[in-house]
Symmetry: C2
Subunit: 294 residues, 2 copies
């Protein structure tokens, strides 16, 4: 029976560490890291995420500078806001909360973010450098970086292990695969066209599930002793819950935990890490701005 990887506690530990880093930076330079947050429209879920991120910034000592823009803003005007943040020396990282309204091309807006402030790590040059030998990305995207932190802080050795990643999206599956490769795992990347995903998964020492399908990964897909990181966040109807739904991961948690040695719960696994890594990236960027190169 697996032990839990407690993402909430690990994320809190990291945020405490980051707070100390901010205090140190402030003592040395009199300045604080700044995160620019752009939110367009009034989506409830986006507002919740942005509020959580701003609160987390405040707690560790990052100044958040937010722009709330109307849902009918033009793409050009939105890009102008991003460019102002590009030019603002107090802004170390820029976060544009997704999704954007339909009339706006997300890629065009994300491309407008200067790579030095791309704390989400979505820029293709950053993705390329994650996979390349001898090239360091300026930022590693937050959720993939969070997965690796969870492994590291749970004492999981990555080098030489066979890691199977389910999903190949630009924001999770692909970059987490490249990070595992950089850490010397043998990496297999699966997706919707994979012929026998259960059999492939069964060979994994480390499974990263990032497909966005509720309880898709079954218990007998997990080799006894494997480590399971479940990135998925899916809501399923649940009449017994006050809200009428509950959140589950991409893995059938109760079944998978019988075979796994370590497993992340959903919620409380990868989710809380994403925000900690965003703060971490923003502070990295501020250090590059504020501290003299070593």
């Amino acid at each position: 029976m697996a032990n839990l990887i407690d993402g909430k506690t690990i994320s809190q530990t990291i945020q405490d560490e980051l707070k100390a880093v901010c205090e140190d930076l402030n003592a040395k330079t009199g300045k604080a890291p700044g995160l620019g947050v752009v939110i367009v429209g009034e989506r409830k879920d986006s507002q919740t995420y942005v509020r959580m991120k701003k609160r987390a910034c405040e707690k560790v000592g990052i100044t958040s500078i937010s722009k709330e823009l109307p849902a009918d803003i033009t793409q050009d005007d939105l890009i102008k806001v991003v460019q102002e943040m590009n030019d603002d020396p107090e802004v170390d990282g820029i976060l544009v909360q997704l999704p954007l309204p339909e009339h706006i091309n997300e890629e065009a807006v994300l491309n407008a973010i200067r790579i030095e402030k791309d704390v989400d790590g979505f820029h293709p040059e950053n993705i390329g450098k994650i996979g390349m030998r001898g090239r360091d990305p300026l930022f590693v995207s937050c959720t993939p970086k969070g997965c690796i932190e969870l492994l590291d802080r749970s004492g999981v050795k990555i080098e030489g292990k066979h890691a199977v990643v389910l999903g190949r999206s630009n924001i999770v599956g692909l970059p987490v695969s490249l990070l595992l490769l950089g850490r010397n795992a043998t990496v297999t990347i699966c997706h919707s066209r994979t012929a026998d995903i259960a059999a492939t998964c069964r060979e994994a020492d480390i499974v990263i599930a990032a497909i966005g399908k509720a309880e898709f990964v079954k218990g007998d897909w997990i080799k006894p002793g494997a480590v399971v990181i479940d990135v998925g966040i899916n809501s399923v109807d649940d009449a017994s819950s006050a809200k009428g739904y509950r959140l589950v991961g991409d893995c059938d948690f109760e079944e998978c935990k019988k075979n796994a040695s370590l497993i992340t719960p959903v919620p409380g696994g990868v989710g809380p890490m994403t925000i900690a890594m965003l703060l971490s990236n923003c502070i990295e960027s501020a250090k590059r701005r504020l501290l003299p190169p070593q």
Copy 2:
């Protein structure tokens, strides 16, 4: 017993096709694609490669503009030459022949090439975009692109197949893995820290060997019916040959071909494709310059 994938013939076919494309371009615009070639020093092997590339350009109708620079050129002066080529509208692609002399930082020189002229496809942004959904690289590095062409022109279906790539270098292993992923293969990437490379290889429907070790892949690593693309070029002592050596791949060809359904020889497999893909990238670039966007 495997059939051979004849890279020499396929490369020639492609060069004939490219010649027709150049003629068409010339008829429409009165102009020819231009390849800038930079060679530093007097290394015999580099001179041979550059001569081969220039001759191939000439045959298909690409103008090659070459700069032969002394081995003691400073890095700054070399970068100036690259920048002149960046600014030269007649140059569609820039090729800096590697290796460079030791006092020069290769990465700095390669970084100086404008991404619009990076026909080698080594820029991290190009690498990132190969792996990302919905993002098209300007150029795909030549050897990896050549491997895919060999599969396509031999009628090998890639989608849904399990491809195992041996090697993860920036110029071969990594980009070919990302290309196979983009073509909907399930991809496993192996390297020197892989625990049981023979067992992993045995599961492959498609093996790409790019490790640089003579005859490293044994016959019983190949699943019956698998397709083998051998990228390796290694010279081994051979007293019976006039030169005292011969070239072999990363696979034990005689043994592997017993199990494989299709296999590339070395030489005459991937090697001739690299140059064809370089010409192809240069022509793509010229089309972007000379033809109005559709």
